[in-house]
Subunit: 404 residues, 2 copies
């Protein structure tokens, strides 16, 4: 390990502290250190970084950056697998270089270890496979506080997101849906924000199920500060996950990029309550782009905080979901089945409807009178009266038929 001119033992100590159960051969350690470095060097969603790491390997790409190699050397190292050109690599080098600092990477690893957080990498058993659907925008590493197994839960996971300034109605729906999903074995994914996110996490915790919070800053940051205890409980029963290393603060950009992880690491995304410009619509947009089933909970048309959900129903073909059952169907890819009863309006046989319509509970009516009233053939009236009499719904008196 020559990168950053760091002592190999220091690198190994830092990496194994944050990855205590992972292979510690030199190659594995070097690669993990380089991935940690890339999570420090670039902002989330940097597609050029994704490309060079995929084509050259994280440690080779890091060496090239440290050596101040010209773009052509990067392209050569990529061996034709690099989709981007020299200009994009040059722009990347300019972006990444200001953050080159060995201390930053070591500190990210040791801060994580001190907190009990882990560095999780592609190829690890705990790596959430859905994240790879982001392609060149996939995270290069994830920092996880809590239970690693929560990232790829056996029962599947559903994102339940929504507005920070939720209404009592929205919170009620978030609790119903997230609690019900927990009861059905799903993990509940959200963003740990005030309002709908918090209600969803709390409902999952209340039924003692796994819940995962993707946060926009480092996992050491309690954001919002009022959710410090909630984040600790989420980490105890599930996981708090960040793409940025410890110490990173949440920014608007990082919130938007964090949203893509919520969508990618869930089987379906449900927006419970959202204004027309809510950030949760951005999460919905990522879900749609990734082909994840997208649901929206309807609310009063008069509520500004349901306008975003209605926009998803109207313009983005989101499924209308009103219960945990319906969300579970959405996540399992079961399309709602059309009920053939809509046109019938009632389950009764149409002839029976017409005969019952024509009967009175008091005045007895003869069969020929019923034929005239119903517009049915006398034979049909007779057969229908017979069936209805068997069911106890009509009876024959001395002067004709009455409704029972």
């Amino acid at each position: 390990m020559t990168v950053y001119q760091l002592d190999a033992a220091m690198v190994r100590d830092a990496v194994t502290a944050a990855r205590p159960d992972s292979p510690d051969d030199e190659e594995a350690v070097s690669s993990a250190f380089a991935r940690a470095a890339w999570s420090v060097l670039c902002e989330p969603g940097d597609g050029v970084a994704g490309d060079v790491v995929a084509a050259c390997g994280a440690d080779r790409a890091l060496s090239l950056l440290l050596e101040r190699a010209d773009p052509q050397r990067w392209l050569d190292a990529g061996g034709g697998r690099l989709d981007v050109g020299a200009a994009e690599v040059a722009a990347g080098i300019e972006r990444w270089s200001p953050r080159l600092s060995a201390r930053g990477v070591v500190s990210a690893l040791t801060s994580a270890a001190r907190l009990g957080a882990r560095l999780v990498l592609p190829g690890d058993a705990a790596w959430p496979s859905g994240a790879d659907d982001l392609g060149r925008h996939a995270p290069l590493a994830l920092w996880v506080r809590g239970r690693l197994a929560a990232l790829e839960p056996p029962g599947g996971s559903v994102a339940v997101v929504g507005s920070r300034d939720s209404t009592a109605y929205g919170e009620h729906m978030a609790i119903e849906i997230a609690g019900g999903l927990g009861d059905r074995g799903f993990s509940v994914v959200s963003g740990a924000a005030y309002g709908i996110d918090a209600a969803a996490h709390r409902a999952a915790l209340a039924v003692k199920r796994t819940t995962v919070a993707f946060v926009a800053g480092g996992v050491d940051r309690a954001y919002p500060a009022g959710h410090r205890d909630l984040l600790t409980r989420i980490a105890a029963y599930g996981a708090v996950v960040a793409e940025l290393p410890c110490g990173a603060s949440p920014t608007r950009w990082r919130f938007l990029q964090r949203n893509r992880l919520i969508a990618a690491c869930s089987q379906a995304v449900v927006v419970v309550e959202a204004g027309r410009r809510s950030g949760s619509l951005n999460t919905a947009g990522h879900a749609a782009a990734l082909g994840r089933p997208l649901g929206a909970v309807p609310g009063p048309a008069t509520s500004a905080l349901s306008a975003g959900c209605h926009r998803l129903l109207r313009e983005y073909d989101a499924a209308c979901v009103t219960s945990a059952d319906e969300v579970a169907e959405l996540a399992l890819g079961r399309l709602p089945t059309e009920q053939p009863t809509l046109l019938e309006g009632m389950a009764d046989d149409p002839d029976a409807v017409r005969v019952l319509d024509a009967l009175s509970p008091r005045s007895a009516r003869a069969a020929d009178e019923l034929a005239r009233r119903t517009g049915l053939a006398p034979r049909t009236v007779a057969a229908t009266l017979g069936l209805l009499a068997l069911g106890g719904r009509v009876r024959e008196s001395a002067t004709g038929w009455v409704r029972a």
Copy 2:
């Protein structure tokens, strides 16, 4: 005119009383009388009656029925245009014969005339063209109380329907949508029931626009009785329309069949509020079957009276509509346009978002510090700061940049 052995002058008087502005040659009168007779003879939606009237003509078919002709003669008279076989014709004859009564037809015509109602037939200028989309189930005649021009209004018409036991929310939405549609030049079609229907009619009347009520019994019947005044006002500014002649009472069967007329005679159908088994879902089913655009107004997922609307959104691909504007778009066939902004989350340039995130309103920060914080190339930071400074959103102090 030999049918029913009626005097020709009596037939002519009866017909011209109910069709004062229509041609009164013998053929026209005979055909109109026969159509009136068929509206007495069969229940709404009788497809076999529709077939024989289309294939043989209304008066020839009526003569055959009066002559007690065997089914083969009907098939011969249809000249190969009849889709049904002898068995179906025989069953039809059995259904229709019990109601054969000359008095019934004459009384239907004279009762209508006494009320000022008109008999409207296919081919009349006032005939609503949408009704023909029902094919063999199209009405054979319509009885209209009010303004004939209301049946085919120049601005188009939209059905606004829903539950009888509506909530204040549902009525509010019906008023907003129906009133707004009226303001936009649409006629409002509904079923004159309590609840949503009444709110829709009243809202259209309040903005002095045309509204049309399709009723399940005769136009002389006030049903529900509490809507006698409302029906009179609807007839004054629009029309009350029935498929059944005066004197006919509304039955469950006739309500269901009436719903197909509401759907057929509108450019779009909107369900405002409906329980899971509301009759308005039957209207929605007809709209879907006819290919009419179908909208549903969302409501709280916790409201049993919105469950039917949510079912339409979820299972029947109804459009989610929350305002008169959205309903008008639906009726005009304008698909909602996908806004490209959903994934962006905000209109700002992403670099500007990141630079603004990294700036403080108090502590000045140097450009290289901003490059490190944003993860952007120093060049990009400099260019972005320049643009933001032009917009007055950042300013440079002696020690660096601050957010304005």
